[in-house]
Symmetry: C4
Subunit: 323 residues, 4 copies
Amino acid sequence: MASFKSANPFLKPNNDTGFGNNPNSYGGRFINKDGTFNLKREGIGVFDKFSIFQRMLNLSTFKFVLLIVVSYIIINLLFTFAYLLAGPDQLQGIIGQTPWAKFKETFYFSTQTFVTVGYGRINPVGDIASILASIESLSGLMSFAIATGLIYGRFSRPKSYLAFSDFAVISPYKDKTAFMFRFVNYKDNHILTNVEIKVSVALLLEEDGAPTYKFYDLQLERYKVDNLPMNWTAVHAIDENSPLQGFTYKDLENADMEAYVLITGFDEIYASPVLQRTSYTYQELKFEAKFVPMYRESDDGKMTILEVHKLNEVTEAKPQIKA
Amino acid sequence: MASFKSANPFLKPNNDTGFGNNPNSYGGRFINKDGTFNLKREGIGVFDKFSIFQRMLNLSTFKFVLLIVVSYIIINLLFTFAYLLAGPDQLQGIIGQTPWAKFKETFYFSTQTFVTVGYGRINPVGDIASILASIESLSGLMSFAIATGLIYGRFSRPKSYLAFSDFAVISPYKDKTAFMFRFVNYKDNHILTNVEIKVSVALLLEEDGAPTYKFYDLQLERYKVDNLPMNWTAVHAIDENSPLQGFTYKDLENADMEAYVLITGFDEIYASPVLQRTSYTYQELKFEAKFVPMYRESDDGKMTILEVHKLNEVTEAKPQIKA
Amino acid sequence: MASFKSANPFLKPNNDTGFGNNPNSYGGRFINKDGTFNLKREGIGVFDKFSIFQRMLNLSTFKFVLLIVVSYIIINLLFTFAYLLAGPDQLQGIIGQTPWAKFKETFYFSTQTFVTVGYGRINPVGDIASILASIESLSGLMSFAIATGLIYGRFSRPKSYLAFSDFAVISPYKDKTAFMFRFVNYKDNHILTNVEIKVSVALLLEEDGAPTYKFYDLQLERYKVDNLPMNWTAVHAIDENSPLQGFTYKDLENADMEAYVLITGFDEIYASPVLQRTSYTYQELKFEAKFVPMYRESDDGKMTILEVHKLNEVTEAKPQIKA
Amino acid sequence: MASFKSANPFLKPNNDTGFGNNPNSYGGRFINKDGTFNLKREGIGVFDKFSIFQRMLNLSTFKFVLLIVVSYIIINLLFTFAYLLAGPDQLQGIIGQTPWAKFKETFYFSTQTFVTVGYGRINPVGDIASILASIESLSGLMSFAIATGLIYGRFSRPKSYLAFSDFAVISPYKDKTAFMFRFVNYKDNHILTNVEIKVSVALLLEEDGAPTYKFYDLQLERYKVDNLPMNWTAVHAIDENSPLQGFTYKDLENADMEAYVLITGFDEIYASPVLQRTSYTYQELKFEAKFVPMYRESDDGKMTILEVHKLNEVTEAKPQIKA
């Protein structure tokens, strides 16, 4: 990162990004590809730092089910040991004679108590087992209440179903060159309404003799649409009002360019505002390329077909930027 | 669709509709009568494309109950076969002697386990049946948690209760002609507040020698009301600022006219914004007709009566458009 | 209602109220005291007209519990008859010998099945009873899922906790006369933020020779506050810009005056917008009266005490309107 | 509080705070440190005043669990006494001979009924016990429905996770002096978007010869940011437009200064607006101090580290206000 371009004094920077501008405190990229912030917290307890509910909502379905099953087994093992510690005559109806058989039957009794199925062949007669069983069945119900809340939370949490192109392109656009990327609404019926898009760019530039991160908003040809049923290509013309004007690929690399994107809209299914972020660094740019169309009329002429798999398809195009 | 009218160069089109303007990629209508988009997705897995939660919310009550009952039977049949495969001595308390009787009793045991009623006459003694039963009762509880979430989601999902007239009319209006349709809030107490209505029109017009879809917003006499307790007639005067001025019925047909409607408001019961869409194509226009009033005072003079059944009632009226 | 005042042609009416202005279709008052609209729907089925979920949310706690208990009894009676119809040998473990004793025991078995407690002393052995029991326990779980949803819906539904003064007053205000009413936030911690108040008035006035309802917004001295922790008095000065200027009590009666009120704000506990309505007719006006203060400092000087019970307390005051 | 400064007649006060301005009705501070209002309600029943749901949401996890356990024990004790009152032959299967043993077994039976585990060894045979059991198990299910609602409500309630510095500082700022405080988003991934901050100040000043509370908004160098992933220092320059200009510490004490803060933003996880309040009184000011930076680059240069524990760390700085 030897030489930095100078900041254009005529361009208005965006100082409200919420990011710092000191290169010494900046770690690689501001926003990760998945839209999270590239940031770690220190000096705060793990329970204060993480929101358990939010973690549970973001687990994959597989991991969520696994967590339930593993918790189920562990809780029942703990209660099994407690029943066994309480003594052999606390439970009535156990058939097995060996310790292993008794352990297994006690474990089955524990599961029958936790889920409140309570067949009753094995049942508690001693005080300790009876109290343990009343605690276990209450715990079971409460665990189940928590699971219900988590499952509903996973269902009902508003999220926007947008897939972004893996890269942005620098394409010819009208008689200019433009920075473009696109995204598609891949979920049936989750139409976004009143969609707005905001693109900003972070550039490491020289100002007052020192390298500093400068932030600029990128003007788009169109920054809002009424509805987003299909796909949308965001287009920023690289002209005299663009902070990217005159940058070669090398310049972008030196400037550690990162364009970050925020899409906001209103989701009709959730009746809730949703937003989604992503970012493109200089490594995620494609030059001399433009996106191919991604929808067509159906064969019977009655419907529009959105070709979601073409999201990343490009053809060659000669941009006028010097690569 | 032989001849296309030329696009009026003095009218400002709405380029933010989110629809494409290429006639070759347009399938019949942009928005279906029920407000969904006339669109299909391709090249994406069915699980990515559909939102299961949203599908469940949109099922009719009958289908939703049927789905629960059918799932209940199928899951219990699967567990029944598993218990039977495990062997005859895994369950204790079965009375029946024939395979069919044993199958039935095992099935009943399975249902008693799944819903955690667990009478206990039949109960698992073998390891396999005990483990199967602990899995089945956990599955039962989790299925029930999912059902609870879906039922609450179905209850609580904000929706707007508007019924639209089946057709729009072209009526005389003051000294002009107007495009009108109306809608009614048919649900008691679900008052909409801060209601806004937006009407746009898609017209296939000739521009630069080629037919292309042009989109225009239709100006309304009134586009917002404070509250919507009753019905509302949307009125677009067809004057020199209207993209429909001078169109005969044949012209509208050639232009493949489609007017689409978006109503937004705030629902007080759900404390949530709601929106509803519909569209009117040229086939859904009625000429020389106007809507009759649809409310009156109650007989005792103490209340207003909204006559919802008159939503589609019209009388003859001479519009000044050439039909 | 012999003589009507003429509409002041210099005042801008509010035509966006969503109410009709025809006296022949107006029933007594537009908005009821409790904020609902004075309106009935006709020509639409009861299930389409009412929202069951919303009805359940609005029931008093007593009625809601009663509904659950009564439903519980009725459902169990239905299943009891079904078990009895199936025959005496379908259930095992019944002790009673008389029909009445058998009925009672069958009913108890039914409740044990519905709530899935399933002790098992009485249990189904016949096919019909087994199938009935599997249906009943599934119904029980589903009923319970519905109850969970309703209970959560009742808990979590955003509502604004404002109590309005029973009447509005016409009081002296600075060197003028004003129309005033007040309201108080009576719920601890349910602070409203960004509160706005809108007051409109409906007056039956003569226009073009015919009586017609005219709607006007009433300008307030202050129509928004940042927070509403306490009480607030809305003040409309009756000056030359007021539609009420020069009205005697008789005039207000003839004009069938109704002032309706809409308060909107953001509730921090529910993190949701809330709104509340009420209305004041000419019968609910108090002349020559003004509100007394309703808060004071606590004895130790450490806290403000809000005296909610003083909401309707007034003292005499000489207004300058001719009563 | 002998001498009061005069209110600056050229400064525009904020009269929309919702607070009263009479020193005799003001109790110490307007807003408590935790953001609640320093206010008590009188003359209204405890059930009307408190929102039970909201109370349950605000309980600590420990107290919430304790409440569930204590309620569980109390309800079961009540039912135990009811079963015992009904007589010794109402329950079948009790083994114990002493009253204490019978009491215990009845209690265990009650818990087994309440949580619907229903082993069945002990089961009701008499009418009274059968009816009590059907009531208890229904109560159990309903209690559990309530608990599910409360647990989900606790999970899903939108809240903003901001920690404020314990004090505000009066620091040199550019060539002026400024009032500053800061706050940090301490929760991973709960990024706030469109964050706005509003700071007002209450000052007891002399106006028209009498001391009265005056409210002013404090202008900030920056009052909104696009995102709040990290920390933010609010800066109010004390210049000629500031209501604090020329105040010594003694003046601030006499004026009973209280600055109160409202932060609003949109939380992406909850897809909901959130807000948080706090206040700083003159006792919570630090002079000649400025905040130290609280983030740095990670050792591998790939991430930003936010040092949450440095929130209250300051270094000496010479402000130009006379202390």
